[in-house]
């Protein structure tokens, strides 16, 4: 990991003053111990006209891993190979920021006792960083991100993307950029800005930074961060980082290991929480947010909308409309004991509990993480006894029959079926309609025809990267009719959300009502009873 800081000068203001500014003698090689390795400071050149100081941070990757062990901060020794085959020794990451602060502490404070006044003077600096990780995390990364962060501060930015591997040009560019920053600036400001912005650029998993270091970073932003046009971005990426810290500390690593057993990133497998966040928070096309259709943006918690960042007021979101439609359907059938199958982070559970007619809600999800998030969101631990007695959250998988699901008035499958591979759908159908057999079932799923109305969604893309399929209105209706016929239910299908003449509404809802008691325990495949099945489609929007 390497950084060089150069300046130019004249006889009056010799470049070699850099030694005084940095408090490091140009003719010495100095070694400093930092928390993650040894930092070496030396001057490749020094003179009146130009002077360059360099810091080489020699990181021991094995010590790095060992350092994290047993700290309960995600430093688990077994977590991931990622820790062993790691860019940290090479890339200018937050470790470099921490080292800068350790080695150039005085310079960063803007103090230069030997040459009073020197530190207060701006002078031309050129800072070279051969490999800066600039993660996109849902936005354009690489050089663009570097420019976005540094140019508003007055830096002239030269940033070039580094290809992943010239042998495989099809792999494209890496997330690293070679960066040269030039500006007429006070050294202390330059260092502070690097100290804050390098970790923001990095934005990567950085398990070994203690939470208090995050606060130190924020303190370093004083004086310039508040007016930065990308304040929101910077803040969000901080929070994302902090969130990932807590996450690795609190969440279990079993899933990550399974992902790794399959040569996959943990986020590819442990992505259930975002799945459930998206559908409910997506607004209609003329609203402020957009569907999550780009694969990049599904890379984990990093892009969770920051609740602290003020958002402009926007129209009622599709998620809210959908919940209202579901509650209305449940009220229609008079359901008081309700299953929320695939409850995610508990948005619907929360809404159900606000309806006093509902006496019992069983939220089921396969993701332990989603259940933990739901319990937090619902504040289960602080709920009054009477309220708490109405709700239970349990892990379950809808491809396995489950006795706990039997005997309910209604079950809700809100934006769930499309997260299952189509060949696995019959298993869910049997579990819900054949085995659990609630009095009514409410199913919602996207209407794929409507996707053309999302301007931000590229043609042919599904709304969420984990959607295994999205159905047209005709496909959904055909499915609903078949299910109803096979399992002894009647069904009505209705649109949810703004109704478009050509493509319908963004969401479609099916309300099934049980018409036959048969088939519950028979273990036979779909109880193709002679029960008359009624299917109606309602033309009007739910709202």
């Amino acid at each position: 990991m390497f950084i060089s800081i150069s300046t130019t000068g004249t006889a009056e203001r010799p470049a070699s003053d850099l030694g005084f500014l940095l408090h490091k003698h140009p003719d010495k090689v100095q070694r400093f111990s930092t928390s993650h390795g040894e930092a070496h400071v030396f001057y490749p050149e020094t003179g009146t006209e130009s002077c360059t100081a360099a810091m080489l941070l020699d990181i021991d990757p094995i010590a790095l891993v060992r350092k994290g062990r047993g700290k309960g901060r995600g430093g688990s020794p077994d977590f991931a190979l990622a820790q062993y085959v790691n860019d940290r020794p090479y890339a200018a990451s937050s470790l470099l920021a921490v080292a800068l602060r350790t080695v150039f502490r005085t310079a960063m404070k803007g103090v230069c006792e030997q040459r009073p006044g020197l530190a207060e003077q701006p002078r031309p600096f050129r800072i070279a960083l051969p490999a800066v990780p600039a993660n996109g995390a849902g936005e354009e990364g690489g050089p663009a991100m570097v420019r976005r962060l540094f140019e508003p501060l007055g830096w002239q930015v030269e940033a070039t993307a580094i290809p992943l591997d010239e042998t495989f040009p099809e792999w494209g560019n890496s997330r690293y950029a070679r960066v040269e920053l030039s500006a007429e600036i006070r050294l202390a400001d330059a260092l502070q800005q690097l100290y804050v912005l390098l970790p923001v650029l990095d934005g990567a998993k950085h398990y070994w930074v203690a939470p208090d270091e995050v606060d130190k970073l924020l303190a370093a932003g004083e004086g310039w961060l508040g007016t930065h046009p990308e304040l929101a971005l910077i803040t969000r990426r901080y929070l994302a980082r902090r969130w990932s810290l807590t996450r690795t500390a609190l969440e279990r690593l079993e899933l990550a290991r399974l992902a790794e057993a399959d040569d996959r990133e943990a986020e590819e497998v442990d992505n259930a929480v975002d799945d459930t966040l998206e559908p409910n928070d997506t607004t209609e096309p003329n609203g402020a947010t957009e569907p999550d259709g780009t694969p990049e943006s599904n890379s984990g918690p990093g892009q969770r909308p920051d609740p602290t960042v003020a958002q402009e007021s926007k129209p009622v979101s599709l998620g809210v409309l959908r919940r209202e439609a579901i509650l209305a359907a449940l009220a229609e059938v008079g359901a008081v004991r309700v299953l929320d199958l695939g409850c995610g982070q508990g948005e619907l559970v929360e809404a159900l509990l606000k309806d006093i007619r509902v006496t019992e809600v069983l939220g089921v999800d396969v993701s332990s993480r989603a259940l933990t998030a739901a319990a937090r969101k619902l504040r289960l631990d602080r709920m009054s006894e009477r309220q708490a007695a109405r709700v239970r959250l349990v892990q379950g998988a809808l491809t396995y029959t489950d006795d706990r699901l039997k005997g309910y008035d209604a079950a809700v499958l809100s934006e769930v079926i499309e997260h299952l591979d189509l060949p696995r759908l019959p298993a869910l159908e049997y579990v819900v309609f054949g085995s659990a057999r609630p009095g009514a079932v409410v199913v919602t799923t996207p209407n794929v025809e409507y996707n053309v109305r999302w301007e931000t969604l590229p043609a042919g893309h599904v709304r969420h990267s984990d959607h295994r399929f999205e159905w047209t209105r005709a496909e959904f209706l055909a499915w609903a009719e078949r299910i109803a016929a096979d399992y002894g239910y009647s069904v009505t299908v209705r649109p949810v959300g703004p109704l478009d003449e050509q493509v319908g509404a963004p969401t479609q809802l099916a309300l099934f009502r049980r018409t036959s008691e048969a088939g519950s325990e028979a273990g036979s495949t779909a109880a193709a009873t002679a029960t008359a099945t009624t299917v109606t489609t309602e033309g009007s929007a739910a709202r």
Binding site: M1, F2, K28, V29, P44, E45, T46, A54, L56, D60, P61, I62, P77, F79, L81, Y84, V85, N86, D87, P89, Y90, A91, P130, A131, P133, I162, P163, L164, D165, F168, W171, R175, Y176, R252, E254, L255, R257, L258, E260, A261, D262, D263, V269, A272, V366, S367, S368, Q395, G396, A397, L398, T399, Y400, T401, D402, D403, P423, A427, Y430, G523
Partner: protein, 868 residues
């Protein structure tokens, strides 16, 4: 106020000086007596302090005052709670409360019944003056004067009805003398034979098949003793083994009296143990003159017994009456009964325990033959004791959750089975003929596993123990099952196809050789120490693991796996390997055609094959990982290190002492370059089938057989034929190089080392060393634990991908790696994999196969150093 004390008191003169009060070791003892009758003193004298729960004490617990009568309701809640917990744990409990009212006793009797223990009453019936006097002596007891007489009246009214209330033993002590003379004697339960440790030979259902029973006993090594008419009346084993019969000796078959003569003889001589079956129960009731429906082969017994003497019939009646529904044996590690028993009933005593032991549990439904559908209790069994039972005819006996059903339907033309315990070996004798036509065909699945029932969450979720033939009980922790559930339900293929997941493999013991972390010498030495002479070294392909199920035609897959299609290819975690269905089909078609041409379907008598393979290139599946991780590290290093070096050299040119740093950075630079070269070898572009390489190395299973236990040269023989039969124009099947090594021959070992050096020198990942015979046990005579089924020996350069570009600079620290957990995990997963294949071969129901497959996935989420 009447004083009836004198009239009801017995005549003390007739009583013996001490009187024994038998009390069962696991029971609920209810003391009955008025306040001041001396219950607490009595309890203290005869029972351990922890056995006694007193209402006064509970009052104190909830109200800080043992005499606070207003706290009685709460106090009794606590008392009942404690009693319930103790009884659930099988501990004798004495309730010290007045218990003079029927309602209070009723609750206690219910508690005893709920926990299937005997309720026993001990009544202290003392003159009320004595009680009043005693209470007066206690300053803390301030009762109103009417309390004791009232209690006394209630007590007297209760005395006669105690047995009717449900107490199985009632001891009434009248007067102080009797109380003083009483002596509590602890009795064992009838079903408690824990002191008998065997060895046992447990025999399944017989149903009058005397001849097969004789053959079975002889096969087991027993010598039969015969009466003067040549009929067997006893059997003795030279090594003193004890036969245990699980019942259903009679009915349906040709010679129920003959079976009874033999078994009764053995039991009466103390040579055997027998529990009753439902058929004994019914025959006994018939013999007692009770009204029973003569069906299910009872008529045969009735007719046959009519031929016997009255004396013999009387003996049979007595025998039937004396049978105990189930037995605890071998320190509680073995439970034998006829129809199976959940753990909470073991050693318990109640009507429902007996009923379950004789008839089992049913769901309340009946099947298409009008027979009750059995409740799958064994599926839920998680107990410590091995439960051996019969009752439900199954084609072959197999262990389910530490239970085994030994009824293999001899009378229906199946076989008669015995289990050697503790060896856990099955001994089977075929039926001589079909003696009785079955109402329904023998089940094709394990008892309780209803044909084709969908998978249930109970099959996989939570903390579980999976019984494996090769490695005993493997336990799965809840958090691992939870993670596996998420992956299995969100990402994996249909479990019907997913008959196997590959186990993890441990690396070779760490090498001390300079510059190496892994070296083949340790592998050969390790196997030599395990007593394995012949090992096979197989080239380790660096791609991604793929399990392939290939069907001969669509119908074959549907027939066997319930889903139409050409087969499936999946990853270590059960995901579809290729997202592209067409490409998957193209690969499967190549394999199918090759297997057809090679004649493998014919030879193995199957229309499908399950293969273990490596699919290359690595970049095919891992391209995202390569981009984000491996190539990224190479790119960062490639950008950063040269620039740092250039600056260092400038500094050195200025005369700065930077030589050491330059040296180190140069080394890093070289290591990083080597790292990039290492991963690049396993990446190349593919287009459809072009560039794709599949290297199968094992044929795991075919119809009706687990082939994974066959020797590796046999496997590679099949594989070579498969590879040779591939389309020569554009082959995708890839051979696996191999070398046989004799671990006891230095020259052979040296050749093995040289082969590895050659492989890795040419950029190969390394090799896997396996015992040639595949499944091998260590220890004397191969009766010890499993030997590692293989160890990987990875190349020095390849390990840069695993341990980081410059791991070679840190070998000292890295050698401290600990392999124990990984090796243990490898064995457990291996055994589970074999278990899944065994269950698949045995055409067991889906949940049984899935249970083992799911367990492999769950274990894969155990914390273990991922670099191993």
């Amino acid at each position: 106020m009447t004083n009836d004390t004198d009239t009801d008191t017995g005549t003390p003169a007739e009583r013996p000086s001490t009187r024994s009060l038998p009390v069962t070791d696991v029971s609920l003892v209810v003391l009955v007596g008025t306040s001041g009758s001396g219950k607490s003193t009595f309890a203290r004298r005869h029972f351990r302090p922890t056995e006694v729960v007193s209402s006064d004490f509970c009052r104190g617990l909830v109200a800080d005052d043992e005499n606070d009568q207003s706290a009685s309701a709460d106090a009794f809640d606590v008392l009942h709670y404690i009693v319930g917990k103790r009884l659930a744990a099988g501990r004798r409990t004495v309730v010290d409360a007045t218990n003079v009212q029927p309602e209070s006793r009723k609750q206690l009797i219910k508690l005893a019944r709920d926990h299937d223990v005997l309720p026993i009453a001990i009544v202290l019936d003392l003159p009320q003056e004595v009680c009043a006097e005693r209470n007066k002596a206690r300053p803390d007891r301030q009762f109103a004067a009417h309390v004791i007489p009232r209690q006394q009246r209630e007590l007297r009214r209760s005395l006669r009805g105690l047995e009717r209330e449900g107490f199985r033993k009632v001891h009434i002590l009248r007067g102080e003398a009797e109380v003083t003379a009483a002596e509590v004697v602890t009795e064992k339960r009838y079903n408690d034979l824990r002191e008998l440790t065997g060895p046992f030979d447990i025999v399944g259902d017989i149903h009058g098949c005397r001849s097969e029973l004789e053959t079975l006993l002889t096969t087991l090594g027993y010598t039969l003793a015969r009466d003067e008419q040549g009929r067997p009346v006893d059997a003795v084993h030279p090594e003193g083994r004890t036969p245990v019969f699980v019942g259903d000796l009679v009915d349906r078959g040709p010679d129920s009296p003959g079976v009874l003569r033999l078994v009764m003889g053995m039991v009466e001589a103390g040579h055997a143990i027998c529990v009753p079956g439902n058929h004994e129960n019914k025959l006994g009731r018939w013999m007692d003159g009770r009204k029973v429906t003569v069906s299910h082969g009872l008529q045969e017994s009735i007719d046959q017994l009519a031929e016997e003497s009255e004396e013999f019939r009387a003996r049979v009646r007595a025998f039937m009456r004396g049978l105990v529904s189930h037995y605890l044996l071998d320190g509680g590690n073995l439970v034998v009964c006829h129809a199976g028993l959940p753990e909470k009933y073991h050693g318990r005593n109640s009507g429902r325990v007996r009923s379950h032991a004789l008839y089992g549990d049913t769901t309340g439904e009946t099947d298409e033959y009008g027979l009750p559908v059995r409740y799958p209790w064994a599926e839920e069994y998680r107990g410590r004791a091995l439960v051996v039972y019969g009752h439900t005819p199954v084609p072959t006996a197999s262990f389910v959750n530490n239970t085994i059903c030994l009824d293999t339907g001899c009378v229906f033309g199946g076989s008669m089975t015995a289990l050697r315990y503790p060896e856990r070996e099955l001994v089977t004798v075929e039926a001589e003929r079909e003696w009785y036509a079955p109402v329904r065909p023998l089940h094709t699945d394990a008892p309780g596993g209803r044909e084709g029932r969908p998978l249930d969450l109970q099959d996989v979720a939570g903390r579980r123990i999976v019984e494996t033939t090769q490695h005993g009980r493997v336990s799965i922790r809840e958090e691992n099952a939870a993670a596996a559930l998420e992956v299995m339900s969100r990402f994996a293929l249909d479990p019907r196809l997913l008959a196997y997941l590959p186990p993890t493999m441990a690396p070779v013991a760490t090498s001390r050789r300079d510059g190496f972390l892994e070296h083949p010498e340790e592998a050969f030495l390790g196997y030599r120490n395990d007593g394995v002479q012949q090992v096979i070294c197989e080239e380790k392909h660096m791609g991604s693991r793929a399990v392939v199920l290939v069907a001969r035609d669509e119908a074959a897959l549907e027939r066997r796996f319930g889903l139409a299609g050409s087969g499936a290819i999946w990853t270590r975690t059960g995901r579809a390997f290729l997202n592209d269905g067409e490409l998957t089909d193209a690969v499967l078609e190549r394999l199918r055609a090759a297997a057809e041409r090679a004649g493998l379907f014919e030879e193995l008598g199957t229309d499908w094959l399950l293969l273990d393979a490596e699919l290359m290139p690595w970049s095919l599946k891992a391209v995202e990982l390569l981009r984000r991780q491996y190539a990224a590290v190479g790119a960062a290093a490639g950008a950063a290190l040269p620039e740092a070096l250039a600056a260092l050299r400038l500094g050195a040119a200025r005369g700065l002492p930077l030589d050491e740093l330059i040296g180190r950075q140069q080394q890093r630079s070289a290591d990083a370059a080597a790292f990039t070269v290492a991963y690049r070898r396993y990446c190349w572009p593919t287009e459809g089938l072009t560039g794709l390489r599949l290297a199968p190395f094992q044929v795991l299973a075919a119809e009706g057989t687990n082939l994974a236990v066959r020797s590796h040269d046999e496997h590679l023989g099949w594989i070579d034929r498969l590879v040779a039969a591939d389309d020569p124009a554009a082959p995708i099947l890839h051979r696996t190089g191999r070398l046989l090594v004799d671990t006891s021959d230095a020259a052979s070992v040296a050749a093995g080392v040289a082969w590895w050096e050659e492989l890795t020198g040419a950029g190969g990942e390394g090799m896997v060393v396996k015992p040639l015979a595949s499944l091998v046990r260590g220890g004397a005579g191969g009766r010890g634990g499993l030997v590692q089924p293989g160890v990987k020996v990875r190349g020095r350069e390849y390990l840069r991908i695993i341990y980081g570009p410059d791991y070679t600079e840190h070998l000292g620290e890295l050698r401290q790696r600990s392999l124990g957990h990984k090796r243990s995990l490898a064995l457990r997963e291996y055994a589970l994999g074999l278990e899944a294949l065994d269950r698949l071969a045995g055409a067991e129901p889906l949940w049984r196969v899935h249970e083992a497959v799911f367990a492999v996935l769950a274990l894969e989420s155990e914390p273990v150093d991922p670099r191993l």
